[in-house]
């Protein structure tokens, strides 16, 4: 394992320290290693619904990269690939509260759900109103009685962006939750890995892929995916991801979408655009309009090579909220 790290145990602490130094105009850290979170440099916005997200580290820029005007108020980075505990989530929730309540944006993993639940209980005991949206956009996982339900993956970025804009617009907690729910109901993703990643404390790849194999339906924690196949061309790989998404969303001609091609961290952006090109032409062939596009590393799996495709079905209000100004370290427009 070769990594630009000093010690597997301080990776998150050192990285967050550098991050807040580099973006001190936008964010600050709690400074407390026991209750580590990142929040807006200016603190909570009075009267605005606060948005808090978090989860295991290793998915950067998610979540801390999305703290700032128009998106999150605070982010809680857990250890690599491990949900943070309730303490820092509670601390972040307090820091994000501007008196209008706080929305927790939680990716659907048992650990995240349980730890955010506990934090929410504790926050309510301190009279902070908390609601949660559990994002579950990954079509690689069947949502059934026999699984922990669909995972939350790249759709989370769009939930954070759009719910963030709704909060900035002045919606109340129920309103922001309703928007977040609408995004979650209309967003679907699926990913592919060309290589596994190495979790610093494990020191070896999360799974072994042969030189001519790819893993379809990969999660963002180096979990193995739905199936392993021989590597195929970028166009064929794209189709393998896109088809289940389009079917699950029930997309039909005339509809409008955000097409979001996300890199898993180790793939050159040039390759992401090759995937984007194919996905776009397949969508256009179905009469679906690609109204907005996002291409890049936004929710990653350390240095994993691969990508995910996300589609969000747009209506006028969601489009307006997507377009609203955002000013964070990792996503910035109109600001």
């Amino acid at each position: 394992m070769k990594k630009l790290i000093n010690d597997a145990h301080v990776v998150v602490a050192e990285s967050v320290e550098g991050f807040v130094q580099a973006h001190a105009d936008l964010v600050k850290s709690s400074g407390n290693p026991e209750e580590l979170f990142v929040s807006r440099a200016g603190g909570a916005v009075q009267g605005k619904v606060g948005l808090v997200s978090g989860g295991g580290s290793g998915h950067e820029p998610l979540h801390a990269g999305f703290v700032g005007k128009g998106m999150l108020d605070a982010a809680v980075p857990g250890p690599v690939f491990t949900s943070p505990t309730p303490d820092p989530i509670l601390a972040a929730t307090k820091a994000a509260d501007g008196g209008a309540g706080v929305l927790h944006i939680v990716k659907n993993y048992t650990g995240d759900v349980l730890n955010f639940e506990t934090a929410a209980e504790l926050a309510e005991a301190e009279d902070i109103l908390v609601k949660a949206i559990v994002v579950n956009d990954d079509v690689a996982v069947q949502d059934s009685l026999y699984t922990a339900g669909r995972r939350g993956v790249a759709g989370t970025v769009l939930v954070e962006k759009i719910a963030g804009a709704a909060a900035e617009r002045g919606d109340d907690l129920d309103g922001v939750l309703a928007i977040a729910t609408r995004v979650n109901d209309n967003v679907r993703s699926m990913g592919v890995a060309l290589t596994a990643c190495i979790v610093p404390h494990a020191g070896k790849p999360s799974f072994d892929l042969a030189d001519d194999e790819i893993e379809i339906g990969i999660g963002i924690h180096g979990e193995p995916g739905r199936k392993r196949i021989k590597a195929v061309s970028a166009d064929e790989t794209t189709d393998l991801l896109l088809t289940p998404i389009v079917e699950d969303l029930g997309l039909s001609g005339g509809e409008k979408v955000v097409l979001f091609v996300n890199g898993m961290g180790g793939t050159p952006s040039s390759e992401l655009y090759i995937v984007y090109r194919r996905a776009r032409s397949q969508l256009e062939a179905k009469g679906v309009t690609v109204e907005r596009s996002l291409v890049g590393n936004y929710i990653t799996s350390l240095e994993m090579q691969g990508c995910s495709i996300t589609l969000l079905r747009l209506d006028d209000e969601l489009t307006e909220l997507y377009d609203a100004p955002v000013d964070t370290p990792a996503l910035r427009w109109g600001a």
């Binding site: 491990t82 048992t110 349980l114 180096g222």
Partner: protein, 213 residues
């Protein structure tokens, strides 16, 4: 072999947990790499190391105090799924142990409260390929030992043996909870890491009670 267990046992058990988790850290990581995300050994190791530090500074009066300290510390240091689950298990178990000592029936009560905590949070049933598959048979074995008039130590050993067998029964299963559930059939043939760590912790409990560990 003691008829009842006291705070010295509880303290030693906690230390033994920290030792066993540190020793088998990589083994638990590897189990979790196979069907999860490869952090289970790291998570528990971080948690129990923190428990040791807390224990040093604390002056617990009862077994329950010790278990509560474990509960809150795991809750705030482990994270992931295992943190809240083990945390709740120890918290509920602590509530059953507010006396000076616990007998065999007390062991059964303690474990029963623990597994109820896990189920309350995680909603898993036996056969879902989770830590519940180790805890549930352990409770039954302890209850049977208590009803057969065995000592607390014997009840613990029976529980540990049952937990070990229970952990082994997860090997052929498809998972229905936790990360491994995403894998479908591909989880077959792999042991659930949480069931394995649960068996280790209960074995440590019995070892310590028997004077070993």
């Amino acid at each position: 072999m003691a008829d009842t267990l006291d705070i010295a046992w509880a303290t030693d058990w906690v230390k033994a947990c920290a030792a066993v988790v540190a020793e088998h850290r990589m083994e638990l990581i590897d189990l979790d790499r196979a069907i999860g995300d490869g952090d289970h050994g790291e998570n528990l190791d971080r948690g129990f190391k923190a428990v040791l530090v807390k224990l040093e500074a604390a002056e617990p009066a009862t077994v329950g105090d010790v278990l509560k300290l474990v509960a809150t510390t795991l809750m705030s240091t482990v994270g992931g799924a295992a943190g809240p689950l083990y945390g709740t298990a120890f918290l509920r178990a602590a509530k059953t142990a507010d006396g000076a000592t616990i007998d065999a029936a007390g062991v059964a009560d303690l474990l029963a409260a623990g597994v109820e905590g896990i189920v309350a949070r995680g909603k898993a049933e036996v056969g879902d390929k989770t830590m519940v598959d180790a805890w549930a048979p352990a409770v039954e074995a302890a209850r049977a030992a208590a009803e057969a008039g065995k000592t607390a130590t014997e009840a613990l050993r029976a529980a540990a043996t049952a937990a070990r067998t229970g952990a082994e029964t997860t090997d052929p299963l498809v998972a229905r909870k936790g990360r491994a559930s995403y894998l479908g059939e591909r989880a077959i043939g792999h042991r659930d890491p949480g069931a394995e760590s649960s068996a280790m912790l209960l074995e440590a409990a019995a070892d310590v009670a028997e004077g070993g560990g």
